[in-house]
């Protein structure tokens, strides 16, 4: 049965059901059982599963990633969480030199079924080191899987699938999505990795997005309908290995692509999407592809400096308008949002 719950509750439910289903699933992270419970995503888990399977950890990001890998070699499925992806950078040795390569390097003698939940900050002055997006780094490393859900239903189904996948999965949660609600089935279910979702069907242009970019794309898509433009929104769901078939199939139909990315534009996933689509579908392209991504500058802290830093629905609308040589007024779209640019909604009072 479906009922509406938040993205954070969906994560919580996915974790709880996975841990009930398999005693080998454990979860840990700094603050996992503190009063705030990782933005509510780990609420009730320690009470239900005990402190042996749900525990706070020392501030040792690199070694704790190694601990997850070692435990995985003996059948334990760890779900580690970091309240910001930025904190996880200390663990690159374990992630890149051990987790991503173990199965390949030892010729299939032992794989690394770990899930690392990484939360992407944004707004309210998160600034240069609490708001970064590194999915393109991870996607560059063969052997990792990179998942970026955009809806509550996907968050639960993709998380469960990630936990029971036999490979290292980086599961990236955009902080602004945590309070977004959606219909989520109550039972345990899985959504396959490496399968994109055509979340809006359309004929004129393909918009490729992930995580919160998909949400912005949906807003743009709805707005553009009023101007007679039909957008197809492809939600990547998994960044690596990516679902090229769905991307190619959509762009084959529309002949136009806007590629979104909530990381910096330089050497981004959006760049790779455009490169491959252009190379593969050269003869079917009706317009030059457009990439919309964060600027190639660190994010500033002051709200005065971030007004136009992130890609929003209006930027997508303007790009589509440009592609079709139309002039579209975006003021009503912005006015409709009705909250300051640096928060997702009035529920968000900071600080984290």
């Amino acid at each position: 049965m479906n009922r509406s719950i938040t993205f954070a509750q969906a994560i919580n439910e996915g974790l709880s059901q996975s841990m009930s289903y398999d005693d080998n699933v454990i979860t840990y992270g700094l603050g996992i059982d503190d009063p705030k419970r990782i933005f509510g995503t780990t609420t009730g888990l320690k009470e239900k599963f005990g402190s042996e399977r749900v525990f706070d950890m020392p501030t040792s990001e690199n070694a704790m990633t190694g601990v997850a890998i070692g435990a995985a070699l003996n059948g334990i499925r760890s779900v580690m969480v970091h309240q910001r992806i930025d904190f996880f950078l200390l663990a690159m040795d374990q992630l890149v030199n051990n987790a991503s390569k173990w199965n390949f390097m030892f010729n299939g003698n032992g794989s690394v079924p770990i899930t690392i939940r990484l939360i992407l900050g944004r707004g309210w002055g998160q600034g240069p080191t609490h708001s970064q997006n590194f999915h393109s780094w991870f996607a560059h490393i063969p052997g990792l899987k990179v998942v970026m859900p955009s809806t509550a239903e996907d968050a639960k189904g993709l998380l469960i699938e990630s936990i029971f996948d036999d490979n290292p999965v980086l599961f990236l949660e955009q902080r602004w999505l945590h309070n977004m609600s959606g219909d989520v089935p109550e039972e345990m279910y899985r959504i396959p990795l490496s399968k994109a979702n055509v979340i809006r069907e359309g004929a004129d242009v393909t918009i490729i997005g992930m995580s919160i970019m998909t949400i912005e794309a949906i807003h743009a898509c709805e707005y553009l309908k009023k101007f007679g433009l039909s957008c197809e929104v492809v939600d990547l769901r998994t960044i690596s290995p990516i679902d090229w078939d769905t991307i190619y199939s959509s762009v084959s139909k529309t002949g136009r692509i806007i590629s979104l990315d909530n990381g910096h534009g330089n050497v981004s996933v959006a760049s790779e999407v455009i490169a491959r689509v252009t190379s593969q579908l050269w003869n079917k392209m009706k317009a030059a592809p457009i990439k919309l991504a964060m600027p190639d500058f660190p994010e500033s802290t002051s709200p005065a400096l971030t007004k136009n830093y992130h890609i929003r629905a209006e930027h997508i609308v303007l790009s589509v308008a440009e592609m079709f040589g139309k002039s579209i007024n975006i003021e009503p779209l912005i006015a409709d949002r009705n909250v300051p640019h640096d928060i997702p909604g009035n529920w968000f009072k900071g600080p984290f």
Partner: protein, 323 residues
């Protein structure tokens, strides 16, 4: 012959197997058939064999870039190791790993990695898994003095202590990290095992060139791990005879002296132990000769096997990324 003598002979045999395999690698390396970086443990055999003798096949071990001795001491398959170093399909990693990535899960050797210190947290993770699974076995991590300068070492030690994990940390202190002596890497008055003790882990030291002393220390440490439900750290002093990486001697390049090397060579773990067993009347000269011959035959056969084994099909280079 009693059980003790048999055990003592097995220690010597195991050390000799490692020595003969590695001397075999050194002799043949310049033929160009073993085309990967190779770090020999010659001179350090007693540390590996003494610790491994205190373990069962179900105890799980991990090692570093210098892993041949640990793999073989734990019971790893000689043919699979030499085939791996020759890049052959029959290698323990099918040719994907080479000398620095050895694995034989059938005897609890869970892998070795090529980045200094980065298998230490994995060993702690194995310890965590054993505790969660209510296992009676332990996890053992072999590493060198250089690893104790890595952040991951302190992080791993800290976590093993707070979670009371069944982990034996084995630090072989051979005085050098590549060509950098301890004096440029750690404070002059530091004693590694004392420092670890100060972090909150029980620790002890032994002569890593003395196989019985090492065995007794490891055995005692494992008893302590079970009794206290806590990890244990042992430091074993020893010395690498040949160059950091490769088959030759490198006393001429200036980072250490020939005198220092000769002094350590006098403490050859194999020669000293062979003399001990001979003096006690456990092994006659003829016994020793027979042992040498039988190990030589075995090792030569393994090299022949590895050299003649087929290379993997190139297609496997593009397979097995995911489980």
């Amino acid at each position: 012959m009693n059980n003790l003598s048999e055990f003592q002979i097995s220690l010597l045999e195991k050390m000799k197997l490692i020595r003969f395999v590695e001397e075999g690698i050194a002799q043949r390396y310049h033929n160009g058939l073993m085309r990967c970086p190779t770090h020999l443990s010659i001179g350090q055999e007693a540390a590996a064999v003494g610790v491994a003798a205190a373990l069962s096949n179900k105890d799980l071990a991990l090692s570093s870039h210098r892993a041949h001795a640990h793999y073989l001491a734990k019971g790893g398959d000689v043919n699979a190791m030499l085939a791996e170093i020759h890049g052959k399909a029959a290698g323990c990693c099918g040719g994907k790993g080479g000398s620095m990535h050895l694995i034989d899960q059938s005897v609890g050797f869970m892998g070795s990695t090529a980045i200094v210190g980065n298998s230490i947290p994995l060993g702690v993770g194995l310890g965590l898994s054993l505790k969660l699974k209510r296992s009676k076995n332990i996890s053992v991590i072999f590493f060198g003095d250089g690893s104790t300068e890595e952040g991951a070492f302190y992080e791993a030690v800290n976590f093993a202590i707070i979670k009371k994990l069944p982990v034996l940390f084995v630090c072989e202190n051979n005085l050098y990290s590549v060509y950098s002596p301890l004096s440029v890497r750690q404070p002059a008055n530091r004693v590694i095992y004392k420092m670890v003790e100060a972090l909150g882990m029980k620790s002890a030291i032994a002569d890593g060139n003395n196989v019985e002393e090492t065995y007794n220390l490891a055995k005692n440490a494992i008893e302590e791990i079970h009794k206290n439900k806590a990890p244990y750290f042992i430091e074993l002093t020893t010395y690498r005879w040949r160059e950091h990486c490769g088959p030759d001697y490198d006393n001429n390049i200036g980072y250490r002296t020939e005198d220092e090397f000769q002094n350590w060579k006098k403490k050859d773990p194999i020669k000293c132990y062979e003399e001990t067993l001979h003096k006690c009347g456990i092994l006659s000269e003829i016994d020793i000769e027979k042992m040498n011959q039988s190990i030589t035959i075995k090792v030569n056969a393994s090299f022949k096997y590895a050299e003649e084994a087929p290379f993997p099909d190139e297609s496997i280079a593009y397979k097995g990324l995911y489980a």
